[in-house]
Amino acid sequence: MRIDLEARPKRSTLREILSPVAALIVAIAIGGVAVAIMGRSTLTAFDVYFVEPLSQFYSLQAIAVKASPLILIAVGLAFCYRANLWNIGAEGQFIAGGALGGWLGLVTHDGAYQAIGGWWILPAMMLLGIIGGALYAMVPAVLRVWLNVSEILTSLMLVYVAQLCLDWLVRGPWKDPHGFNFPVTVNFDPEATLPILFEGGTLHLGVLFAPIVVIVAAIIFAKTIFGFQVRLAGSSPKAARFGGFDDKRIALAAFAISGGLAGLAGVAEVSGKIGQVLTTISPGYGFSAIIVAFLGRLSPVGIFIGGLVLAITFVGGEDAQIALQLPGDLTLAFQGVLLICVLAADVLARYRLRVRLGGAS
């Protein structure tokens, strides 16, 4: 059997918008088959995964709270991936931001350093989160730019390092002395906690970061010379150098933005959702955001929608664990299938596929 790809003569915006949708439908179909094999009703599972989360106010809030870090990280990743830099360590940058920002929440615990009031703590925490994530992303960026070390491997290795460091911090120096030896820190003061948007809900202020970042990023990509440089550096690096753009600076900036947004997501998670620092602060947002970035075709608006879709599968997956006793890892597997479908659909939007039997090349 041989597969031939024939470039489509024209690009179609409609086809490019529909291709992730088609991928999602195919992935859901594959998931349905898997559920059936596990002996559950496909229709019920679909209902639990994709319909129920959208029909209850409580779970809609949960979706927003989960989508927000995914979107923040994925928009940052879009800067890297557009520039053809493979930062796959957003999970580590998320942790670094959460840890550095969370540190301020810990040291200001119980009114410490709040003689001038607590108004400065939250902005400073967010800033520290961004700085923490960006600095952590600078390690693979600098190694890549000056020593040509593969950023793929270094950024990924640093995820494990970040996880282990956080584990050490929370079990060691940061442990709550009155916490009955549980590996947790003290709870943040209200001044260090992102406020809830309305009484009785779970939506915190950090949820608003995502739409703001999406709008700003969309403008940067479409209208500014910096966005132009990032796109150009990824699409034709030689042309970018010919244009007089400094590819090293672009790479460092893309990594800084990517790490900074992941760090912001991390500190928002710690300060808004968790309220203290734990040994584990992410259910794999940094990796799922890679799927979100591709599902959104690396465009900020697409990522916004993609982030919501993936958040639904997270929330639906939690519900399915309870309602159908489906294993939680089904969600992870589904996300993998989804990414594969998205990548395949993206090709089919640009090429026509011809399959012939016999012959190979």
């Binding site: 470039a7 209208k223 010379i225 699409s235 034709s236 030689k238 042309a239 150098r241 010919f242 007089g244």
Partner: protein, 518 residues
């Protein structure tokens, strides 16, 4: 046009060795070959003539089994055959020497050749076989050398040896002289004459008409994928052959006319740079100066440091000392391309797609690419898209760029049209210094004429123009002085009007006057 029956009979073969009947090849909506016919007799050298994009390479790729015809048939000694892959073609006795070489840089000569030997051939015996054929044809191949260390001429000899080891009946050569010095080409012709005498049939692709007249018994001419006809090139003139190829009389280029040379606008002084890439060329003590109103040509065989020289001139690679490169009196050796553009220098690199232009960007975006720092193209970090579109329309109109849409993606343009766009983009900025690498490489004749004319007009306005080109005809046509680059060294410039091709050819082969004497 003379019909070819007479020459055909001259070879006395009733059935041609290899024949093509009504062959058509389509890529999507594009027809690369449209009902082409061709006969190839034993012991003949048959030329396949045509402009860039006429469909010559497509046709021979079908004869070698790389592409499959959409319609029509290929006959081998009168019987229709199918060639599912190049192995099938080789098994019949068809060999091919590729224009851009089908070699593996990081493998040795022996490994490159062993790859296509039949599987009965023991790997350990290959070096001996190579030594044998290398002696027989005077090729001087060293089996254990990695290919990346070899010159273009040596690489071509590997390709030829690889074919000859399989004792082919038909040998296809795709633009074999395009990367050779005149002297190396001479050596190639001797080998080809010998192969012809051995009774092999040669299909010779070229657009160098003198070569074809000298070497070939018959010529088949393609234009825009269609066959124009077959003729005896020896009874035609280069002019009539060219007219057949292009389909119309060729536009004469108006010479720049008498004008005063201005002050030195571009000076290169003792420029030395290590090779930026693994298999690149280091520049050694390069010096040159170009006056306003002058066109300075840099000749040389591909891969002798042309792209490295261009990168040093453009500022994509920085020199160690500011004085190594001086533009209009400003030492800029350590300045980037942006600063050099700000001094009103313009640059056109060799590669259109991916270097001069970003293929997946629109033409107006490609205006921003090289013009973002000048003329209010950006304000506070935001791009003035309307201005970019306007400038793009200007280039399209002034340089007759044919495109399917008002602001298409660069990659949708044909080679000639994209080249007119990237040259026009720089020329319309009115540069005082223009550096251009391979201005008409792979471009159709009409577009090449437009570009050369624009360069002459620019220099008539007082600009200094430096052209790097492999095409000696082009350099002799428009340059005032010609220097030759060889293994990263630049010769002293020679006045174009009082220099012969042979002199330049010797320099291209690395044999300067002094070496030539003994």
């Amino acid at each position: 046009m003379a019909q070819s029956d007479a020459t055909n009979e001259g070879h006395g073969a009733a059935t041609p060795l290899l024949a093509v009947r009504n062959i058509t090849k389509r890529f999507g909506t594009f027809t690369a070959n449209d009902h082409v016919n061709l006969d190839l007799a034993q012991g003949e050298v048959h030329a396949l003539l045509g402009e860039n994009g006429a469909g010559k390479s497509t046709l021979v790729k079908m004869l070698y089994g790389i592409l499959a015809p959409t319609e029509g048939e290929i006959l081998w000694m009168g019987a229709p055959i199918r060639l599912p892959n190049p192995n099938a073609a080789r098994a019949l006795g068809i060999g091919m020497v590729f224009q851009h070489f089908s070699l593996f840089e990081n493998l040795t000569v022996a490994e490159n050749i062993a790859l296509v030997m039949p599987s009965s051939q023991k790997l350990d015996d290959v070096p001996d076989k190579i030594a044998e054929i290398s002696r027989a044809y005077g090729m001087g191949l060293e089996p254990s050398r990695p290919v990346w260390t070899l010159s273009a001429g040596e690489r071509q000899r590997i390709e030829i040896a690889r074919c000859l080891l399989q004792d082919p009946k038909v040998l296809i050569l795709d633009e074999p002289t395009s990367v050779l010095t005149p002297q190396e080409a001479e050596k190639l012709f001797e080998t080809l004459e010998r192969l012809k005498a051995e009774g092999r049939a040669l299909l010779y692709i070229s657009h160098h008409l003198e070569e074809v007249q000298r070497l070939c018994d018959r010529a088949t001419i393609l234009r825009l994928g269609k066959m124009v006809g077959t003729c005896n090139p020896r009874v035609e003139t280069p002019r009539s052959l060219a007219a057949l190829m292009v389909g119309s009389e060729i536009k004469e280029i108006r010479p720049a006319g008498a004008h005063e040379l201005g002050p030195e606008r571009l000076i290169v002084a003792n420029l030395s740079l290590p090779s930026p890439e693994l298999h690149g060329v280091a520049l050694k003590n390069v010096s040159a100066s170009v006056k306003g109103g002058e066109i300075f040509g840099v000749a040389g065989v591909a891969g002798n440091g042309q792209s490295e020289f261009f990168a040093a001139l453009s500022g994509e690679t920085l020199a160690r000392s500011p004085n190594a490169i001086v533009i209009d009196g400003s030492p800029v050796g350590t300045f980037g391309i942006g600063a050099r553009r700000a001094l009103n220098a313009g640059f056109v690199p060799e590669e259109r797609n991916g270097h001069a232009a970003a293929p997946d960007f629109t033409l107006s975006d490609n205006i921003v690419l090289s013009g973002h720092a000048s003329g209010g193209m950006t304000r506070a970090g935001f791009i003035n898209a309307a201005l970019a579109k306007e400038k793009s329309r200007n280039v399209i109109a002034s340089f007759d760029v044919r495109a399917a849409a008002p602001d298409p993606l660069a990659r949708t343009l044909s080679g000639g049209n994209l080249q007119k766009f990237v040259v026009g983009r720089e020329i319309l900025r009115g540069p005082s210094v223009l550096v251009i690498n391979q201005p008409t490489w792979g471009v159709d004749v009409a577009a090449a004429a437009t570009i050369r004319q624009a360069l002459l007009d620019l220099c008539a306005k007082g600009a200094a123009v430096l052209i790097i080109s492999q095409d000696l005809d082009e350099l002799f046509e428009i340059c005032d002085r010609i220097a030759v680059i060889h293994t990263g060294e630049l010769s002293a410039p020679l006045p174009a009007r009082s220099t012969t091709r042979e002199e330049v050819g010797l320099l291209m082969a690395g044999m300067g006057g002094a070496d030539h004497a003994h």
